[in-house]
Structures are given as structure tokens and as C-alpha cells.
């Protein structure tokens, strides 16, 4: 029994964690009433995508893709491309969070609150 669980976790555990995180993030963005919490949940969702990509780059016994002494075969190095892509994705998510926080300050200034209930109460629906 332990064996089955261990193989499952080794095989698919990281992907399961990714999708659980992603689901949590989206659920939080839908259900939280506080806009600050919504932004945090958005970040959790973005991190789950980053995990997913980084998991693609890993391999057993792989080392850094840097030539230290002599060049090894391609098998010996982990794939650096997903890391490079995620560096860009992290920058993008930083930018998104920055814009979101700025908007939040503006919303606080106009409505005096960042709670969904207070804001929808003031005629958003009209």
C-alpha cells in the first residue's frame, strides 16, 4: 500500500499539487470578498503554473546546465528552458501584482473600502 502511494506521489504528486494549488487559487479569487485576498489568491494560482513548468525541467541526477570542468552529455544536465521561461513569467506576475495593488489603492481612495460588499452596495450594479 505504501509502495503504491509512494510511486503515485513520485509519478504524479507534483502535478497533483500544481492542480490543487491552481484550484485553490481560482476558488479563492471567486469566493473571497476582500480584494487584497483576491490578489493573494491570484498569486497562488500564478505560482502553481510556475511549479508546473519547473517540474518539466527536472530530471533525476541532473546537474546545473553550466560547464564547470568538462562538457558532459545532454543527459547529465537539467533542461534550462523552463527556468528561463518562468523567469519571464515571474516578472510578468510581479507586474500584474503591482498594477493590481495600485488599482486597489485607487479603489480605496474612491470607495473608502476594499470589501466587495461595501463597493457593490454603492451602486456598482446600476
Amino acid at each position: 500500500m505504501i509502495d503504491i502511494i509512494e510511486t503515485f506521489l513520485a509519478d504524479k504528486g507534483i502535478y497533483m499539487m500544481t492542480f490543487i494549488l491552481m484550484g485553490l487559487g481560482i476558488l479563492g479569487m471567486i469566493s473571497c470578498g476582500n480584494y487584497m485576498k483576491k490578489i493573494m489568491c491570484m498569486n497562488i494560482m500564478q505560482v502553481s503554473i510556475i511549479f508546473f513548468f519547473l517540474a518539466l525541467g527536472q530530471k533525476e541526477q541532473g546537474t546545473l546546465p553550466v560547464v564547470v570542468q568538462n562538457l558532459l552529455g545532454a543527459d547529465a544536465y537539467i533542461n534550462p528552458l523552463p527556468h528561463a521561461l518562468m523567469l519571464t513569467a515571474i516578472v510578468v506576475s510581479l507586474g500584474t501584482t503591482g498594477v493590481a495593488l495600485t488599482l486597489l489603492m485607487k479603489i480605496k481612495e474612491i470607495y473608502g473600502s476594499i470589501e466587495e460588499e461595501d463597493i457593490t452596495g454603492k451602486g456598482w450594479k446600476k
Binding site: 500564478q46 500584474t96 488599482l103 474612491i110
Partner: protein, 508 residues
């Protein structure tokens, strides 16, 4: 033209607006008008270059490839320009330049803050850069980066709009980020199966992948991602508020172009990358078709409910984006040609209608259709353009809107999908209802238009009370949009047969 080598055209078209965007705040420190002029100039140069590029593509009849930094495709990023995106790039840069021109009266009204207006032009230019890059790129991850540039500048332009702007922008930010993450997840799945991000290379290698669940999951992620970005029916929640409350000057660009380019990217993925012979392709297209049909009916019916001009236009956009998705769902030559033609014609129609909306706001602070009574006596040219654009939206023959619907209907009949034809006709009738209601209020309503909005203007125009048309730099974009709708209608066979046919037949 030889000194700008033709080989660098694809990248110059994207880089020049980017330079304009970066230089604008800097130049504005020295003189308030310089930054604005830099942006307008950069966008016009980009527009001229994009026409040259389209001419080169049409003449040679094959796609133009540009390797960034000289790195060859599977490893480096490449820009690929063919008939379909060549003409979309012309559209984006043209409307971008027109919108920058259109914005200047709004900023002049706000003389106290020169640096703020520099920020506005800078963001607008970033938006155009992102849209141009999004349509030129041939690399799946690069597409994500450009999509986020578009989205971030879009949030900015929506937030500086009316009072409810920041909150509309915040909601769009949350939804848009889910869309972008879904797209990234889809690309990640494809990357894990093929080990490449270049679109042409992906198409080649996906033929050998027989892991069907993975491909279906990737497709679902991409449909959700693009669906959110283009406001396809069940994923449209952010759109009406964002389009109604955005900055009135930037709204034409946001409503007219920003939701069309993800639709184009959807075409890239579903026709150029995925093998159309796959068995579940038909199911996916049927699902897109159902979303499109529901969206068309929902958007048209919702538009009937509102009497706020921008809201009517925003809900009508949900329906019109449905037409584009419908063309993809039909999936034969006429369907795709109709969809691409509708991207072009609807971009001009909706941009033009939002120009008129912004013109009414600028001159008379009109937000509701009830306030439009007899406004045509005051602004004859704007209202004339509005009539042309609205008739085109309904789909009357000499205008562009008719021909794109015509091609869609031809494609649907060829496939035997008569439901789609029925939906096209019903929604045209519904749009006739909501636009004729606007006409009725405008031409037959009680006179509601009062004096020009500010005292200063009423003093200035005290003697000529009869006509208070908007300034020339706003009039030119309004008129060009109306003229382009007529020109696209008359030139539709050249666009479909001369520009699009080669590329579309190549991917079917």
C-alpha cells in the same frame, strides 16, 4: 526605401511604437507636446511600414520570416508574417495611429497635468506595441508575453477612465490573469509533449504525439484562455464594465481591437498548429460553435435592455465576437475568410461607434441614448458617420458588415449547418432593433441637447450656435472609420481572394 532594409520590416513595425512609448515621458519633461507628437509620429511610421510589409507579402505570395537576433527557428524567436496577420497588423497600426490622433483634444482639455497625459500616450503606445507583437509572433511563449503587455496597458487605460474605471479594471485584471495562466498552462502541456515552443515546429511535432488526453486538455486550456481574452460568451463577465468605463479616448482601441487579436491567435492555434484531421477536432469546434451561438443571442438580447450608449455597444461586441468564433467553428474556407473579414470590419465598426460615443461625451457629456435627441442638428458629420457604422453593424449590403456575414453564411451552408445561418439572421434583426432605437431617439426624439458643455466654449461659439461639431483631429478618425467600412465592403473580394486565400487554403 532601400536604406531601411526590407528584411528588418517585421521587427521595426513592433519596435518603433515601443520606442515611442519609452521616449514619450522623457520628452514630455522638456516640452509637454513633444511626447505626444513622438507617439503619434511613431504610430504613423509603423502604419506606413506595415502597408509596405503587406504589399511585400501579397506580391511574393508566401510568408515572411524574421529571426530575432539571427537565431534560427526551433531555438530562437521568429516573427512570421503571412496574408492573414499582415492585414491584421495594418489594421492595428492604423487604428492605433487614429486613436492617438483622436485623443489629443481630451488631453488639451486637461492642461494642468502635462505629465499625466504623457503617461496616457505612453500606455496607449505600449498597447499598440503589444497588439502588433501579438499578431506578428511565431512563438507560443512570446505570444504570452505580448498578451500580458496588452493586458497590463489595457488595465491602465481602463483604470484612468470614468469613476467606476478602477474597479472595472481590477475585475478585468483578475479575470484576465486567469485567462493568461490558462493559456500558459496549455502551452506548458504542449511543450511537455513536443519540447518546442515555435509554432511551425509545434505543428510538425504534434503529428507524432498520440497522447490524446494531453492534447484535449491543452486545447481546453487554450479555449478558456483565449475565450476570456476575447470575451467569448460564458467567459465575457469582465467585458461590459471594462468597455463602458474605460477612458473615452482609448475606448475605441480597447473595444475595437483589443478583443479581436486573441481571436486571431485562436485561429493560429486551432488551424495552423493542431492537425485538423484529429478526430476530436470536430467536437472542439462544435463546442466553440455552441459558445458562439449562445454568445450571439445573449449579446444581442442584452443590448436591447440598456439605454446607456456604451453598454449597448459593449454587449453588441459580445455578439460580434461570437460571429468570429462562429467562423472558426464552421472551419471551411468561407468560414475562416468570413471570420478574418469580420475581425477587420468589426474592428472599424466598433472603433468608429466608440469614436462617436467619445465625441458625444466630449462635446455634450452624453452618456445615455435618451440624451441624444436632435443631436444631429449640432453634430451632423459625427451623426452621419454613426448612421453608416450602425447600418454596417446591422449588415446592410454596401457596407463591410454585410459581406463578412455573407461569407459566414456561405460557409455554414456549405457545411450544412443551417442553425448557424438562422442565428446569423436572428441576430442581425435584433441588432437592427437596438440600432434603430438609437436612430429614433437621435432623429425623432425631443430636443434634449443643451448648450455646449463648458462656459468657455459657449462664449467662444456664442454666435454660431447652430453647429458645434467636434475638433478636426477627432473628426478625421470618425470619418476614416466610416469610409473604411465602405471601402472594406467594396473591396471585400480583393481581401478575401487576393490577400487571405493563399494563407487560409494553406492551413486547411
Amino acid at each position: 526605401m532601400n536604406f531601411i532594409s526590407m528584411t528588418h520590416l517585421p521587427v521595426l513595425i513592433v519596435i518603433i511604437p515601443l520606442c515611442g512609448a519609452v521616449l514619450c515621458p522623457l520628452l514630455s519633461h522638456f516640452s509637454p507636446a513633444a511626447g505626444k507628437k513622438a507617439v503619434i509620429g511613431a504610430l504613423f511610421v509603423s502604419f506606413c511600414l506595415s502597408i509596405l510589409q503587406l504589399a511585400a507579402v501579397v506580391q511574393s505570395g508566401e510568408a515572411l520570416h524574421y529571426y530575432l537576433g539571427g537565431w534560427k527557428p526551433p531555438y530562437g524567436i521568429e516573427f512570421v508574417i503571412d496574408g492573414v496577420n499582415g492585414i491584421i497588423i495594418v489594421l492595428v497600426s492604423f487604428i492605433g495611429a487614429m486613436t492617438a490622433l483622436f485623443s489629443s483634444p481630451f488631453e488639451e482639455a486637461d492642461k494642468t497635468a502635462p505629465f499625466k497625459s504623457a503617461g496616457y500616450y505612453s500606455i496607449l503606445s505600449f498597447l499598440v506595441t503589444g497588439l502588433l507583437g501579438l499578431s506578428s509572433t511565431g512563438d507560443a511563449f512570446n505570444l504570452y508575453v505580448f498578451m500580458e503587455i496588452v493586458a497590463l496597458s489595457g488595465y491602465g487605460l481602463i483604470a484612468i477612465g470614468e469613476e467606476k474605471g478602477p474597479i472595472a479594471a481590477f475585475r478585468y485584471l483578475l479575470t484576465g490573469t486567469i485567462g493568461a495562466s490558462m493559456y500558459l498552462l496549455g502551452v506548458g502541456l504542449l511543450y511537455s509533449a513536443t519540447g518546442t515552443l515555435n509554432m511551425a515546429d509545434l505543428a510538425l511535432r504534434l503529428k507524432d504525439v498520440d497522447n490524446m488526453p494531453l492534447i484535449v486538455f491543452a486545447m481546453a486550456c487554450l479555449v478558456v484562455g483565449f475565450g476570456i481574452k476575447m470575451a467569448l460568451f460564458p467567459l465575457h463577465g469582465w467585458q461590459p464594465a471594462a468597455h463602458s468605463y474605460a477612458h473615452p479616448a482609448a475606448d475605441p482601441m480597447i473595444a475595437g481591437v483589443m478583443i479581436k487579436i486573441p481571436a486571431y491567435a485562436m485561429f493560429r492555434f486551432f488551424f495552423c498548429i493542431f492537425d485538423s484531421g484529429l478526430p476530436m477536432m470536430k467536437t472542439i469546434f462544435n463546442i466553440i460553435g455552441i459558445m458562439a451561438v449562445l454568445g450571439i443571442l445573449y449579446g444581442s438580447l442584452k443590448a436591447l435592455r440598456y439605454d446607456k450608449y456604451n453598454k449597448i455597444l459593449a454587449y453588441s461586441s459580445i455578439g460580434q465576437v461570437g460571429y468570429i468564433a462562429l467562423g472558426f467553428a464552421i472551419g471551411n474556407f468561407y468560414g475562416i475568410a468570413g471570420a478574418v473579414l469580420h475581425i477587420l470590419s468589426h474592428a472599424f465598426m466598433k472603433t468608429g461607434l466608440f469614436y462617436t460615443s467619445a465625441a458625444f461625451k466630449y462635446r455634450y457629456k452624453i452618456h445615455y441614448t435618451d440624451q441624444l435627441g436632435q443631436v444631429y442638428r449640432k453634430m451632423p458629420v459625427t451623426c452621419g458617420a454613426l448612421v453608416v457604422l450602425a447600418l454596417s453593424m446591422i449588415g446592410l449590403p454596401p457596407f463591410a458588415g454585410f459581406f463578412s456575414k455573407w461569407y459566414l453564411a456561405l460557409g455554414a451552408i456549405e457545411n450544412g449547418q443551417y442553425l448557424y445561418v438562422a442565428v446569423l439572421i436572428i441576430s442581425s434583426l435584433l441588432s437592427a432593433v437596438y440600432f434603430f432605437r438609437i436612430f429614433e431617439k437621435m432623429f425623432m426624439g425631443e430636443k434634449t441637447v443643451s448648450e455646449p458643455s463648458t462656459q468657455e466654449e459657449s462664449l467662444r461659439q456664442g454666435k454660431t450656435q447652430s453647429r458645434t461639431e467636434v475638433p478636426l483631429s477627432m473628426l478625421i478618425p470618425v470619418l476614416t472609420a466610416a469610409l473604411m467600412v465602405i471601402a472594406l465592403g467594396l473591396g471585400n473580394s480583393f481581401i478575401v481572394n487576393g490577400v487571405l486565400r493563399n494563407t487560409v487554403m494553406g492551413v486547411l
